[in-house]
């Protein structure tokens, strides 16, 4: 019995049993999988898959102001980052609401301006420090506070998503219907609420796990979950499951194969995506086989 189970234990569980940093990395990754991956599904539905990347640059002016006000304080820089992210998302949302621009276009414009502002602020202040490098974390360096942050944001996000679900679905698929339905909650509340959730998840993710992990766990499982199911609830669950699987597999691979953890986890999510592209109902092979074969 032991001869059979020992290798399994060594391969799958002993890294987590032995090292606290592995456990914390796993818990942070699972928490992010629960909240960020479903948000990612909504982002892909709204054609805003690249929001995460944009936002990782858009927080820079806030981080810079935080640094200028209270020096190399992580709390101040983190707070500045959250505020800058929320502001960028709010402005992008408002522009979409009041002009003919779509969400992705207005976001692209505002994030570039924010990035330019951030670089200028840092240059004017005369520091050569890479502030984002200092502020942004890595999966292996998750501390107690970071874990608490990710867990709180994940809990709040899942609850908020449950409350907002109906309105958000309507706003995403049929904004005209929602607009025509007088007397209810106005549509911009859903849009802004959703963007705030996304910003909170991303910024918490940047600071605890790093940019690649935060954006990667949000978007890759979401994109590949859409290949598997037609219904939204199934897509949301699938995205969370894929993110969690990629997180656990990636951490173990990083441990056993001596590879950097963040890129390995995202690589695992990428492998799941490639599998989905081939085998999922919406992927290439099933569609290829399902095509009616016409004979003359």
């Amino acid at each position: 019995m032991d001869i059979l189970l020992d290798p399994v234990w060594d391969a799958l569980f002993s890294p987590f049993a032995e090292f606290a940093f592995m456990r914390r990395a796993l818990v942070a990754t699972l928490a992010l999988s629960l909240s960020a991956a479903p948000l990612g599904v909504f982002l892909t539905l709204r054609r805003m898959s690249l929001l995460g990347d944009a936002l990782s640059h858009a927080v820079l002016p806030g981080v810079a102001v935080g640094f200028m006000v209270s020096g190399l304080s992580l709390t101040a820089m983190a707070l500045g980052g959250v505020l800058a992210g929320l502001l960028v998302a709010a402005v992008a949302g408002a522009v979409t609401r009041f002009t003919t621009l779509k969400e992705d276009a207005s976001l692209a414009a505002i994030y570039l301006v924010a990035l330019a502002l951030g670089v200028t602020l840092i240059a004017r202040h005369g520091t050569q420090l890479d502030l984002l490098h200092i502020l942004f974390g890595s999966a292996l360096g998750v501390d107690h506070a970071g874990l608490l942050l990710v867990a709180s944001v994940a809990t709040a996000s899942v609850l908020a998503l449950a409350l907002m679900y109906r309105g958000l679905v309507l706003e995403t698929f049929d904004p005209v219907f929602l607009g025509a339905h007088r007397g209810g909650v106005p549509a911009w509340v859903w849009q802004q609420g959703f963007l705030m959730l996304v910003v909170l998840n991303l910024v918490a993710g940047f600071q605890t796990l790093g940019t690649l992990m935060a954006v990667g766990l949000m978007m890759l499982p979401a994109v590949s979950a859409r290949l598997w199911h037609d219904t939204l609830p199934a897509q949301l669950l699938n995205a969370s499951a894929q993110a969690a699987l990629a997180g656990m597999a990636g951490l173990l691979l990083s441990y056993h194969c001596d590879t950097p953890s963040g890129p390995t986890i995202i690589g695992c999510a990428g492998a799941l995506y490639a599998t989905s592209l081939l085998l999922a109902p919406g992927g290439w092979l099933p569609r290829h086989w399902a095509r009616p074969h016409r004979v003359a």
Binding site: P15, E18, F19, A20, F21, M22, A25, A123, G126, T127, Q128, L129, D130, H133, I134, G137, S138, L140, G141, V142, D143, G146, L251, S254, Y255, H256, C257, D258, T259, P260, S261, G262, P263, T264
Partner: protein, 311 residues
């Protein structure tokens, strides 16, 4: 008002020359008579200030607490270079950007490589990449005060070349400072000697202390290579935790740049205590404990000894 204040602190000869210049040209005396010198980073800037005294006005390109590895030149830096009479770099590959910047600025004057003549060490590659040629030099030679004696003599020679009138002053300043360096070296040796040889081990996030390690017999273990951008694997972190526990190291230090999160968390996991910042590549600002080279070295030695006492 300002001129009188300045005059009271200046040597008599300088005052006379300034007064003459003032009378002839009517220009502000204190600006006309100092030699504009550019030093590549804060530690060199401090040394030039010591050797040059009041005859030179030093500008540093990479300031206190800033990382020379990721320095990006601004147009103002090229302007500063162009106005300089002497440019001083560390050498040994510490400022790979310096050659390009000097060329681009159009600066045609003298340059001094401060580490000229220092017995260079090679970068230690701790991760065990076998078969890899260890060509890269370790530029952090200032971590050994005896090398800094060489630095200040090089600086004095360079300054004398562009300002022959001050040669004697530069020489005297440099030799006086070399005495202080010798005192520092002797003091550091006594301090380190208070720790038993087998307990002289610390963990730090930057392997900038190769020269220090060789001089004082302290073993520095690093979780990451000198390149602060590489992301470690879970295996490396696990091995380091095991190593800390196996060798019973409790002294863990973060230097004054780079990502401190990982090492802070790692030391906590391994049951070690996190020491104060060490200054490796840059001086601190004036309100922090490493504002000059001598202060920086004393701070580092004191902190290292305090940390190693827990080993």
């Amino acid at each position: 008002m300002l001129d009188t204040l300045v005059f009271t602190n200046l040597p008599r000869r300088f005052l006379l020359a300034s007064a003459a210049a003032l009378a002839l040209l009517g220009s502000p005396a204190h600006a006309a008579d100092t030699l504009p010198v550019v030093a590549s980073f804060s530690i060199l800037g401090d040394l030039v200030r010591v050797v040059g005294g009041e005859r030179v006005a030093v500008t540093t390109l990479v300031g206190p607490n800033e990382d020379a590895h990721v320095f990006e030149a601004k147009p103002a830096d090229a302007k500063t270079l162009l106005a300089a009479k002497l440019v001083i770099t560390n050498g040994l590959g510490f400022e790979p950007w310096a050659g390009k910047l000097i060329k681009a600025s159009g600066y045609k004057g003298q340059t001094v490589v401060a580490a000229q003549g220092v017995k260079a060490r090679h970068m230690e590659e701790a991760k065990g990449h076998t078969g890899h040629a260890h060509e890269e030099l370790d530029p952090h030679a200032w971590q050994n005060p005896n090398n800094v004696a060489m630095y200040v003599r090089n600086i004095a020679a360079g300054l004398s070349k562009v300002d022959a009138a001050g040669a004697a002053t530069y020489q005297a300043n440099a030799e006086a400072y070399v005495k202080e360096l010798q005192t520092l070296d002797a003091w550091a040796k006594v301090q380190i000697a208070s720790i038993p040889a087998d307990k002289r081990k610390v963990i730090t996030s930057h392997d900038a202390f190769g020269y220090f390690a060789a001089q004082y017999g302290v073993k520095f273990l690093a979780p990451q290579g000198v390149n602060t951008e590489t992301e470690p694997s879970a295996k490396q972190v696990a091995q380091l935790i095991q190593q800390i526990q196996r060798e019973k190291i409790r002294a863990v230090f973060v230097e004054n740049m780079g990502n401190p999160k990982l090492i802070a968390q790692l030391s906590k996991d391994a049951g070690a205590t996190l020491g104060a910042s060490l200054y490796a590549d840059a001086l601190s600002t004036a309100d922090q404990p490493g504002a000059t080279y001598l202060q920086m070295m004393r701070h580092n030695v004191t902190q290292l000894v305090a940390g190693m006492q827990h080993n």
